[in-house]
């Protein structure tokens, strides 16, 4: 995509403040994070502990009284796991996977992008060739190829998401850093023979970081959706420790029989999570975007 075109599209995606919806999504996102952290303390059941699960209570509809001494508010899945607990623990996994991968991808992408801009020549060519290569395919396809190559497992899916996402950061960081390198203060630093590392880490990185950092929340949202999609396709997290995506996938086969609760509730939780991350992420980007704060 050419820069001018990208600018057009970005402009198209920019939108006016959403007011109450934004506030609501901030509250929602905050409570998601709190719930994920507190999951082991507040979940009525530990869905990873086979001793707490009663196979005979599988596929109970919402509201059934369970043998564990509590009520299955949202029912149980095909194996007898409490849906509320599955959602809470799944939320933990989904958030952990996506935040970790987005953070590492940002770190790698930033470093690569800034290095490309600073060193220029073959470093720039090599890094940007790789970035272009990756960005010429849809992210989902990259993630799919990566996860097939790496094999299943939580660590592998984090790796696959990093592979799928780092290039976006690299491109933005490079373009910002490139405009920075041409500014006089870098020339001055060079003339003063400051060490390269010092120039990069003290001057270039901090000034290039902001635009890339504003991307992180949105990319976390993408990562949640990507992880869920891969898990849904059966290529993601292990079956006994479901993320929100695989919880939805587990329930898909029951959907047609009318046991809607097994996939509906985790799906709603997932949808709310992605929507709130996206709304808050857009807001973060807008408020941090220097173009929105004319000097």
């Amino acid at each position: 995509m050419k820069p001018a075109m990208k600018a057009d599209i970005l402009k198209g995606l920019k939108k006016p403040p959403l007011g109450p919806v934004l506030t609501a999504s901030k509250i929602l996102l905050a409570s998601y994070i709190l719930l994920a952290i507190a999951a082991p303390a507040i979940a009525p059941q530990n869905p990873y502990d086979p001793l707490q699960i009663y196979g005979w209570e599988a596929s109970s509809p919402p509201g059934t009284m369970g043998g564990g001494g509590f009520r299955y508010l949202l029912g149980t899945d095909g194996l007898g796991r409490d849906i509320v607990s599955t959602i809470l623990y799944g939320l933990r996994i989904s958030l952990m996977v996506s935040v970790t991968s987005a953070a590492i991808a940002a770190l790698i992408g930033l470093t690569a992008g800034v290095s490309a801009a600073y060193f220029g020549k073959w470093v720039d060519a090599a890094i940007m060739r790789l970035v272009d290569l990756q960005l010429s395919l849809p992210t989902i396809l990259i993630a799919l190829i990566a996860i097939v190559t790496l094999g299943p497992g939580i660590d592998r899916i984090i790796l696959a998401l990093i592979i799928a996402q780092w290039a976006t950061y690299a491109r933005i960081a490079r373009s910002v850093a490139l405009s920075e390198t041409n500014k006089s203060y870098i020339d001055a630093a060079r003339l003063m023979r400051l060490p390269t590392a010092r120039i990069i880490f003290r001057h270039l990185l901090p000034n290039s970081i902001a635009p890339a950092v504003t991307l992180i929340p949105i990319e976390v949202g993408h990562a949640v959706a990507l992880e869920a999609t891969l898990s849904f396709l059966g290529l993601g997290v292990p079956i006994d420790k479901p993320s929100l995506g695989s919880a939805v996938a587990n329930g898909f086969q029951y959907l047609l029989t009318g046991q809607y609760w097994i996939s509906l509730f985790p799906g709603l939780a997932l949808f709310g999570l992605i929507a709130s991350i996206n709304l808050v992420g857009e807001d973060v980007r807008r408020s941090l975007d220097p173009r929105n704060h004319p000097a």
Binding site: P50, I53, G55, G78, I239, D240, F252, L256, T257
Partner: protein, 534 residues
Amino acid sequence: MQIQSRFCSHRLAALLISLTFWSGLPGSGHAQEELRIATSYKLMTLDPHYANLNENTSLLSHIYERLVYQDDRLDLKPGLAVSWRAVSDRQWEFKLRENVRFHDGSPLTADDVVYTIERIRDFLKSPSGGFRSYVTGIESVSAPDPLTVVIDTKGNIPNLPLSFSSIFVMNRPAQGFQTTEELNAGRAGHPPVGTGPYTFESWSSGEVLKLARNDDYWGGRPGWPQVTFRVIESPAARVAALSTGEVDLADAIPARDVASLKQRGARIASVGAARINFLQFDVERDRLPGVTDKSGEPIANPFKDALVRRALAMATDRGILVDKILSGYGTAAAQLFPGGLPGTSETLQPEAPKYDEAKALLAKAGFPDGFNLILAGPAGRYPGDGESLQAIAQSWARIGVKAQPAAAPFSVFNTKRAAGDYAVWYGGASGEAVDIILHALLASPDPESGNGALNFGHYRNQAFDAMLARAESIQEGPERNKALAEATEFVMADQPIIPLYHFHHIVGYGPRVASYAMHPRGWTTAMQTLAATE
């Protein structure tokens, strides 16, 4: 403003109207005499000797036929052969049915049977194998007259006729052999020609097979002028196709969908499959991957001790597997075939879980606190496979054995199992007769004889091997069945595997089908249906 919104609503209305207009009734426009079947069997090839999988053989049995037919009690019945007998220990004679014609009009002769055997044994380098094992014991085959086939065997093979219940007979072409590619090309190449009740019309691999009635069929006029198989691999989509009336019959219905299908007016037929799903232990190696004590330190292979195997078997709640995971469409297993089939034991009955006794046994074996293991298995290959792993882990947790379920796609699972990555795993086995499974699963592994081909845990029990060999030397009949049952009882006391369940084949059908006769081998064919008279 008004103008604009009118513009918008016009468009919307037009869209809605056109959608309604296009809709039509589901399934309309089909000839009333066409039988439409949604099948899970994906029909990978039109070559009947390419791969010995129900995936192919179920659908190809419309076009091709076998010398011997297995009925729903798994007893052998005449197919293209009207009779067979052992002339001596090393020679068999098959008499062919008269006046059978292939779809191209040529008569069925003994030479075609010779061609079939030669094609499998000498010509095909199919990546399938499977069929080859049926003919490896054959020394030579000849056709003394057009309706007699004489087969000399390398050793005594009392159950040779059973092998011929799996081999489809092809007709000998003018010269050479027909290649898989020629057959797969369908109408553009050599469309498959058999003696079966339906003739080939067209196909699209993994999608559709269209058949037409063979009016000259030797067994009388087949019931449907047209048969169309639609390959629908997603169970949910098969159920949907049946409930909307897009198809008349759908196979491999998930048990959990049965109730809602019945509510919508579909009828259901089911039968216990002639097969077993089980847990298998590695009893050979000294250390096993993933088997540790409670603190995570590797321990010596606990499964060498029959007490441990017994304890785990006692702590396995088959009730949950059968009633919850298979929704009642499964039979708890204590041996290799569902009770009642030839060669099964009457005394072996599935037991309810006895956690206290199991815990005591485990303590006696030196594991009062239990241990940790990884329970491996395929996902999505057999009904209830992935879920079973987790349910079993729940059961075993009650005696202190912490099992971590690890499900993988079937080929991945097999690659890892073959590489020795697993200590205990979920498996499945099926066969034409119970002795074939006994042989593959529990006989001491021996690459030379091919015994123990599925005995991946390397269980060895010489007393059982001897009992099985004695039973197999007996001709088909009650004597042989009794000896097989006794051998089974003997070996199951040692618990080399934990039999879990025999799942049921479930088929649903709509109003245009009057009844459907299930077969324990799990075939889905038009021949099993009876058309409703309208």
